[in-house]
């Protein structure tokens, strides 16, 4: 006869760090590896010559501004939640979500701008790489926006406050990471195109 017993989540779990937060950091590591390999591939390929030269779309400067701003507003919401200023939290979350969506729209227009310059996804890898970088980053950003919306909804249900910050903290980590990732990609492209 199999002995059965319960798994009790009591308050004193012997944990060094919140396991889900830790797992999020590990997930971030995998995303870093994807982009590290992509940008390395870019350099390796570029060094072999036959490389199309073109100007980066100016709109990248604006979208970069938008994503930095969204990080600022999210951090403001985070601090508000910590101080239990729930009105500010909601405002901040709405602004951040709108900014996140704005960034995505802006990235779409960067593709339009690329097409206007006759740089297509299919063609010289110089252009293809740019589409892959922005596309993959946008895909991760969409997951970030979904996360934003989830936390936004729970903040309207008063589930985010100083006593319940885990999800908010994970969101802040992830969103700052996505912003930082974009800045890395943009700097990389500015230096290496």
């Amino acid at each position: 006869m199999e002995e059965k017993f319960a798994f009790v989540e009591n308050a004193e779990q012997p944990i060094a760090m919140h396991p889900k937060k830790f797992a999020l950091w590990l997930f971030i590591v995998t995303v870093v590896m994807i982009f590290a390999s992509m940008t390395s591939a870019y350099i390796v390929r570029q060094s072999e010559g036959n490389w199309l030269e073109f100007d980066l779309p100016e709109i990248f400067w604006y979208t970069t501004g938008v994503i930095i701003l969204s990080s600022v507003t999210l951090h403001w919401s985070y601090l508000s939640a910590k101080k239990d200023e729930l009105g500010n939290l909601k405002t901040g979350m709405i602004i951040t979500t709108v900014l996140g969506l704005t960034f995505l729209v802006g990235q779409w227009y960067s593709w339009v701008a690329l097409v206007d310059r006759d740089v297509f996804f299919v063609g010289n890898p110089a252009g293809s790489f740019l589409y892959v970088f922005t596309g993959l980053h946008a895909l991760h950003l969409i997951s970030g926006v979904i996360f934003l919306i989830i936390v936004l909804i729970s903040s309207f249900k008063y589930e985010v406050h100083s006593k319940s910050m885990d999800r908010m903290e994970m969101l802040v980590t992830y969103w700052h990471f996505l912003g930082g990732l974009w800045i890395y990609l943009f700097m990389f492209l500015l230096l290496n195109h």
Binding site: T30, A36, E48, F121
Partner: protein, 629 residues
């Protein structure tokens, strides 16, 4: 930092009732979140794939060993892949070697080995109720299952499965016109591998989180069993390398389906140029081998960890050089990321770069040799107990030596010009990576079967299985070195038109016959495994008289592993035959204060510290009991 986990779980009577009736068939056996059941799921799926992968190799060995043989009798299984003359279709031969490689490397020796034992042993050996996230763990298995289904389906489609070799180099894999296998089969291969990567990453994130955050009280990193160290480092390697395979596969998908030119350039088919310009096939090789080489250690490290544990237990001796073992595994982990280009010595890479990678590659011999030395010194003058698990572990050490030696040749960029892509390479990695890891897997199954199913496997059948497999593996792969040195290239359907290769026909015949016998010997294991699961002798709680925590659980541990408090850990896991101790093993749960007769001077110092911890624990226990009453 590691000793700071000073709280404990408690299962009070009240909660007991709340959770008791939750398990039904589906949540217990199918969509389970219990790490032990997930480990078994990985094991059974891995065994299934091992049979398929082995059968594929038997079919292509028939072609290699007996090129003139009538294969009509395979028509019921292979259908159109047997030509009208009763011969194996050459395109299907390529598909066979490709799928054999893919299945064995990823589905058997990654998912079946790491998936099984990381899941099963990590919580049990570190003293945790379950993985950090049971849900992610379940997801990890089901992604693997989905991947398996897709890969399995690809075996049966009309154009055949992927056929570009398990490394799927473009342009062969990127152009549908190249070979039939580069069509739908290749697409399914890429989809299946994407699911597989997702599965590995979900699993790996879980393993790392669990090992770092959920160790029981007293289980510092320096007291971790070497199995856990190995699984932990394996997960770290996977976490860093699988995303790169994802990148490589993603760009390949774009080249195949969207017409981009990441890997394709200046290709003519039937005199007509393709539109792709500016791509670089070597780029794919860089990306692929950045995963591909660490993958070797993803396959091997868990087997080495399992071996450390089993050899120490069955030599009744502490593992020789625990710290050296950990440091060499760390060294292998780091080095595995900076040697990938030794797979590309002849791909047109800069020869100077080749000599750097040659240097780094040869450095790996040092941590590997340290490990071998430590295995041998652990065995030296031990009270050896030859359980089947022990035999397979010793077999692993043997393959690790004989296969590792040829690695020194192949790591040399000059000799590699002659040896690359010959059967010498095939022999090398089948010994050092394939057979060694397979033996680690087998050793683990024999050793932890009592914990998995509460019954013992039959030892005599285990011995027969071991000797047939051990001798069989050497009979298959030793002659292959000679075939390879003679210049016989791998992946060729037939190579008998030259005098020099013709004279090796009988050797190939011998290899094929040995391969078939070795494959048949695995049926003994299958019988033993499934028979013992239901009819085996009921195991005692600690059949190998081992020190690690998993043997302190009930015979059939439920979800949560320990019925009461999780035991605390007071010593390292290798206190075997300690001078002065009444028994030849002292489990990790025995406090140093209970064994004054065998403590070393520095351990006597620790006793004081320990007493403080035990006092803390008792106050907690009293507090809990008063709460419950």
């Amino acid at each position: 930092m590691a000793t700071a986990h000073t709280a404990s779980h408690s299962a009070t009577a009240h909660d007991h009732h709340e959770h008791e009736h939750h398990d039904n068939f589906i949540t217990k056996y199918i969509f389970t979140q219990d790490h032990k059941m997930i480990g078994k799921q990985f094991l059974i799926t891995g065994i299934f794939w091992a049979i398929i992968g082995g059968l594929l190799s038997v079919i292509f060995r028939l072609q290699l060993g007996f090129p003139d043989m009538q294969l009509e009798f395979l028509k019921p299984i292979l259908g159109g892949w047997i030509t009208a003359e009763g011969k194996l279709d050459p395109d299907f031969y390529l598909a066979l070697v490709t799928m054999h490689g893919t299945i064995m490397v990823f589905f058997v020796l990654t998912a079946g080995l790491s998936g099984t034992f990381s899941n099963f042993l990590i919580p049990l050996q570190i003293g945790a109720r379950d993985m950090a996230s049971g849900f992610m763990n379940m997801l990890s298995y089901w992604f693997f299952f989905l991947s398996s289904v897709i890969m399995f389906v690809s075996l049966f489609i009309e154009t055949g499965p992927a056929a570009g070799g398990w490394v799927v180099y473009p342009p062969l894999s990127a152009l549908e016109q190249a070979i039939p296998g580069s069509g739908l089969g290749m697409t399914l291969w890429l989809i299946a591998m994407t699911c597989f990567i997702a599965s590995s990453l979900l699993g790996g994130i879980n393993y790392i989180t669990t090992v770092i955050n959920l160790r029981t009280k007293g289980m510092s990193f320096s007291r971790l069993p070497l199995t856990i160290w190995a699984f932990f480092l394996t997960a770290v390697i996977g976490l860093l390398s699988f995303p790169v395979l994802f990148s490589a596969a993603l760009l390949l998908v774009f080249d195949r389906s969207f017409g981009t030119s990441f890997y394709l350039s200046d290709i003519y088919i039937g005199g007509e140029p393709l539109p792709n310009t500016g791509g670089s096939p070597v780029l794919y090789q860089h990306l692929f081998w950045f995963l591909g080489h660490p993958e070797v250690y993803i396959v091997l490290l868990p087997a080495l960890g399992i071996t450390s544990e089993i050899i120490a237990t069955n030599s009744r001796k502490p593992i020789f050089g625990y710290k050296a073992m950990v440091i060499s595994m760390l060294g292998i982990t780091i080095l595995s990321f900076i040697v990938w280009a030794h797979h590309m010595f002849v791909s047109g890479m800069n020869p100077f770069l080749g000599s750097i990678f040659m240097f780094l590659t040869l450095i790996i011999a040092i941590p590997s040799a340290v490990k071998v030395f430590n295995y041998l010194t652990t065995l030296w003058r031990g009270n050896l107990i030859f359980t089947p698990g022990m035999l397979f572990s010793i077999g692993l050490v043997s393959f690790f030596i004989s296969g590792g030696l040829t690695g020194i040749f192949l790591g040399n960029s000059a000799i590699d010009i002659q040896l690359h892509d010959t059967y010498f390479v095939v022999a090398h990695f089948h010994l050092v990576m394939g057979s060694a890891s397979f033996f680690g897997l087998m050793a683990g199954v024999y050793h932890w079967f009592p914990k998995m199913f509460g019954r013992m496997m039959d030892a005599r059948l285990g011995y027969v299985h071991f000797w047939l497999t051990f001798i069989g593996v050497y009979m298959v792969f030793f002659p292959m070195h000679y075939i390879g040195i003679a210049g016989f290239p791998r992946r060729y359907y037939t190579w008998t038109n030259f005098e020099f290769s013709n004279m090796y026909t009988d050797l190939n015949m011998f290899v094929s016959a040995a391969a078939i016998v070795t494959f048949a010997a695995q049926l003994i294991f299958l019988f033993n495994f499934f028979y013992s699961m239901y009819r085996g002798r009921v195991a005692s709680l600690n059949p190998w008289r081992s020190n690690t925590l998993e043997w302190t659980t009930p015979l059939h541990p439920g979800h949560g592993n320990w019925p009461g408090e999780i035991p605390a850990v007071y010593r390292w896991p290798y206190d075997y035959s300690k001078p002065g101790a009444p028994e030849d093993f002292i489990p990790q749960t025995v406090p140093l204060s209970a064994t004054p007769e065998s403590n070393l001077p520095h351990e006597q110092e620790l006793v004081k510290l320990e007493k403080a911890i035990i006092a803390d624990e008792e106050t907690l226990l009293v507090a809990n009991e008063s709460k419950a009453s």
